[in-house]
């Protein structure tokens, strides 16, 4: 990815949004259950999770369209509970874009500025500036119905950005676009965020989108925040099976904890033997049971006489061809479930016959121990 955030990009370490113990109940059902989260100034933050996990609910509470049943939300140090949406320093890009159908592009973008009673020249300048920022120059006079999906998305973005909010909230802004446009907009959104330096909070259920765009991600399940981490940490050190599974494929191997101390954990497995790994930050163990995980792309086929420091041997039971890569399902003696392996086709992994005996090499740091 072109705009993968660089770890050394400076994000000032000042909290912009503080969510403390927020619960939102609908009757007996808790759409949000005791969520706490701090989002820093200038950060590109993603709320990631499956459908119905409460992402929109949380975002709407930050915007002021809904209030927590209990708990507090502060934006830039100011308590927000009870403050209506029109007085909050946040702006939202709606999933449906919510472009005003009776107004043209320019009027849509200028909608929020009207209240500020700016000098008409200044207003026009700000509208033109933000239209250029989202590459919509020249389309100002278009009616709302004469726009493509991507253009509508940009109008919604421009309309929010022109208000110069402290926080921009985006509710699945790309999900209505086709794949190609979506990938292009991911890059553009990220670039835009870096240029304006505003805190972005993006809601998405697409793990690749979250990984590609964010400084940090919060993964949510059933109204609870499961893990908050940088994309890399989230992908490599998920706290539990659910998070690991949601962020792309992972092989899970049954393990038993034999030793646990401050920063490391040692587990016993069949197949991978005794492994000591760094302990995930929010590791919560129930009993001695645990899971050892390894991503399919961290297993590599060992050709001919090649050897690796750590390896397992097995038999290919299935082969799936995906163009640039091949997916192999390999049965390992002693393991309950076969391992899946992703191998690039540069060396002819697509020619490995089903039934062949192969050896797989891996690095110790690719193994991650996690809670069930």
């Amino acid at each position: 990815m072109l705009d993968r955030p660089t770890p050394d990009r400076r994000v000032p370490d000042r909290p912009m949004i503080e969510i403390r113990d927020v619960t939102r109940s609908y009757g007996a059902f808790k759409a949000l259950d005791d969520c706490s989260l701090t989002i820093r100034e200038g950060e590109f933050f993603s709320l990631l999770g499956p459908s119905g996990c409460g992402k929109t609910t949380l975002l709407r509470m930050i915007a002021g369209f809904d209030n927590p049943t209990s708990g507090t939300i502060a934006v830039d140090g100011q308590e927000m509970v009870g403050v209506p949406a029109n007085r909050r320093p946040t702006n939202m890009v709606f999933q449906s874009y919510a472009i005003f159908p009776h107004l043209n592009v320019e009027q849509n973008v200028a909608y929020g500025l009207k209240r500020l009673k700016l000098d008409p020249v200044e207003e026009k300048r700000r509208v033109d500036e933000v239209l250029a920022m989202v590459s919509l120059n020249g389309l100002g006079k278009r009616g709302a119905h004469e726009l493509s999906g991507g253009q509508r998305q940009r109008v919604a973005l421009a309309r929010a950005l022109v208000m110069r909010p402290k926080v921009l909230l985006l509710d699945e802004p790309l999900s209505a676009l086709d794949k190609k446009l979506r990938e292009q907009m991911q890059v553009e959104l990220r670039r835009l965020q870096q240029a304006v330096g505003i805190t972005f909070i993006l809601v998405t259920h697409d793990q690749y989108e979250a990984l590609a765009m964010s400084d940090r991600i919060a993964v949510m399940f059933g109204g609870r925040i499961a893990q908050v981490a940088s994309p890399k940490e989230m992908y490599q050190r998920p706290v539990n099976r659910q998070v690991a599974d949601f962020l792309g494929g992972m092989n899970f191997v049954k393990a038993e904890v034999v030793e646990e101390n401050g920063s490391s954990i040692t587990v016993d497995t069949l197949g991978f033997g005794r492994v000591t790994t760094e302990k995930p930050k929010a590791f919560v163990r129930n009993g001695a049971g645990a899971t050892l995980g390894i991503r399919p792309e961290r297993l590599r086929v060992l050709w001919d006489n090649a050897t690796a420091k750590y390896e397992v041997a097995g038999t290919v039971v299935e082969r799936h061809y995906f163009g640039e890569i091949t997916h192999l399902i390999v049965e390992i003696p002693g393991l309950e479930k076969p391992l899946s392996v992703t191998e690039t086709n540069d060396f002819g992994a697509d020619d490995i016959p089903v039934g062949a005996a192969i050896r797989l090499g891996y690095d110790r740091d690719a193994l991650v121990a996690m809670a069930d």
Binding site: A63, G64, F65, P84, A85, N86, R87, T90, N91, M92, F94, S96, A98, F100, P101, H102, L103, Q107, Y111, G112, R115, R159, A160, M163
Partner: protein
Amino acid sequence: MTAAAEGSPPLTADGIRRRPPLLQSESFQGLALISPTLLYALILLLLPILVVFAHSFWTQNYLTIDHTFTLQNYRTALTEPIYLDLLWRSLFVSLLVSLFTVVLAYPIAYFISFHGGSHKGLWLFLITIPFWTSYLLRVMSWKVILGYNGVLNSGLMGLGLISEPSTALLYNTSAVIITLTHAWAAFAILPIFVSLEKVDRTLIEAAKDLGDGPLRSFLRVTLPLSAPGVISALLIVMIPTVGDYVTPKLVGGKDGVMIANAIQAQFGKASNWPLGAALSVTTMVVVSLMAGGAVFLIRAAARLAR
């Protein structure tokens, strides 16, 4: 579903596109579908109008009609002060009635649409309840309310606000306006309700998000987007009330007479059909102009509101 219904001519086995047979073509099917209503409308709407239109250029000769072309009826209709007076009063009444009706209906429609929750159907049902009785009965009940010994007068006297019954309530133009406004309320509520239902609620949230309070978001988003409903409500009430003659007759008294009463008289007692026809055509044209003018004004106002 057939290929024709999907809008493309069927592809035959040998791959050559043929024109669909007449009976399967989309326009034919469409025509066939609306033809009963269309015929009905033609016979019962267009024909009578043509008959009226033709009569307006003829002359009544006691019991027979002289079929030579003349504009004399229109001259009478447009110059005789009594007819002009009645026409103006009718337009004035219908304009006021439609304005009052829409102004009163809008909050109700708004309430049902935005705060009706899961009881919207029930609310709409309640609104139709007055229609279970005849229109005449509803007008009569206004007589009971507004009359000399009516509910309003006794109520006001009971409260000591007036010492003797007021005669200013019934048998004048305001009595006509009050009665018509009540009678047409439901017809205004429904179209406004429908257009409010179509307003995407996220648009209102977007307006709030961009800094508008409840009043401003209503004026800048909800109201302009429900304008089609307001316009149709206005027209639905305005057009028929110009031609109403039952209400003025029952509660209008001497002052409340409207153009339709004059037209009725020409077709009835006065037995001058051609003049009645000319008055009808004139009224129709003027009402159309007024309706068009109202639509134009609302559109212009909506544009300005941006």
